[in-house]
Symmetry: none
Subunit: 233 residues, 2 copies
DNA sequence: CGGAAATTTACAAAAACCTTACACGGGATC
DNA sequence: GATCCCGTGTAAGGTTTTTGTAAATTTCCG
């Protein structure tokens, strides 16, 4: 028997909130609710929730700010934003930077539940995150920041390991520079990058883990999209 | 149980408007109405509608402008324009650039309902947009901009993927160059093209996905109309 | 302070994109 | 059938955008 999965719902509209609560109970979660921004933030910071569903439009404090404040305290807190419209791509991209996912209102119950499950799966996989990563011919101990490539021993920095871990958790897709800056560096939702520091770190990582860093086989560039890690299969 | 499908009707003529509302209710939609241009725009931007039916001739602000403003905010909002007459081809073409479809007044109820269903099917399929496209013998991962044709791995550019996605969403018909420039490139409703860049991109795509690019079997030319994609059955 | 790590700067290279120019071919006209 | 016109295919070249990386600079942390 598993421990209960606790979910906080921050939503001011009564109808939506109670509807959500019912659906969550029905699916076996243990939900709790807040109706204003400040209340939501307080509960989020006190309680320990596996996931927080956060409306963007709230009385008292908007969802973006709450999201940023929660993240400032706990980088790993899972958050799904409920946004008013599936509005334009850039805003959606911005949402994903702070949160783990977003769902556009009006949403179908089915879709929401799928997203919830996906986020929980990801974050809980993260908890029992492998202490050692295997990439190509290279074994990496994420605790000691050290690795081994055949005979040669390699030292990594914390940032490098965090990049690798994030990429490894999303190894099925390309991860954009913005997303890395947001999730690894903790930068705010600054769109429009002007820094090249991601690229530099990738270059350093390639020097360490790639045999031929002109022809990367593990840490790939997806031009126009970002970087992608190929897991040993 | 599905969520309700919300439709906004922007139409000034009382008789048509109430008639439309009745028909929509009868077919199980949840309609709302506006009678002037500015009112329609306001409701469109505030509420979240699955589809907007937009008359071209409106007091206060014409349908074209409303359409463009809605699209500026939300590229994905589904819009069907109601035009006064099936007047000349150019105007009709212009309509389709901004909107997802148009229906000429006077229209038959049956036809309108069919168009509504078609647009909804398309846009809602778009939401859970296939992450992988299958074309002929070729599998394409739209997030990683990469594909696979048997053993051979193929790299696509973002533009190429966007073109394929758009064609795939409209695989039942030929898509004109103007329409691609409008929906993929984001060009305004500039009629009269002078660029050949669409053709070039199509040629590149054919080199990648067609076995024999002199005899395309997937990415077809419809002379005088544009290009059409043949989906795998 | 001192040294390692992180970041910025600057430039080079590569890829993607767009325009131009010309060739080809179907369909219409004579 | 021969000819012309228009729409399409595509090679070649120039322009812009994106990425790689060396070197200089700043920040972090003991």
């Amino acid at each position: 028997m598993n421990r209960p999965v606790r979910i906080l719902v921050v939503e001011d509209e009564e109808a939506i909130r109670t509807g959500l609560m019912d659906v969550l109970v029905f699916h076996g979660y243990v939900p709790e609710s807040a109706t204003t921004g400040p209340e939501g933030l307080a509960k989020a910071l006190n309680g320990t929730f596996d996931l927080i569903l956060l409306d963007v439009m709230l009385p008292g404090m908007d969802g973006y700010e709450i999201c940023d404040r929660i993240r400032a305290r706990d980088r790993k807190q899972a958050i799904i934003m409920l946004t008013a419209k599936s509005s334009d791509e850039e805003i959606v991209a911005g949402l994903k930077l702070g949160a783990d996912d977003y769902v556009a209102k009006p949403f179908s119950i089915q879709q929401l539940v799928l997203r919830i499950e996906a986020v929980l799966r990801r974050t809980q996989a993260g908890e029992r995150m492998a202490r050692t990563l295997t990439l190509g011919d290279c074994e990496i101990d994420t605790e000691n920041l050290s690795g081994r490539n055949g005979d040669e021993s390699i030292a990594f920095t914390r940032r490098e390991i965090e990049i690798l871990c994030y990429l490894a958790q999303h190894a099925d897709r390309a991860v954009s520079r913005e997303e890395l800056l947001s999730k690894v560096w903790g930068y705010g939702r600054d769109l429009g990058i002007e820094t090249r520091t991601v690229d530099i770190h990738i270059a350093k990582l390639r020097q360490k883990i790639e045999l031929d860093n002109k022809n990367p086989r593990v840490l790939l560039t997806v031009r126009g999209a970002g970087y992608r890690l190929v897991q040993a299969g």
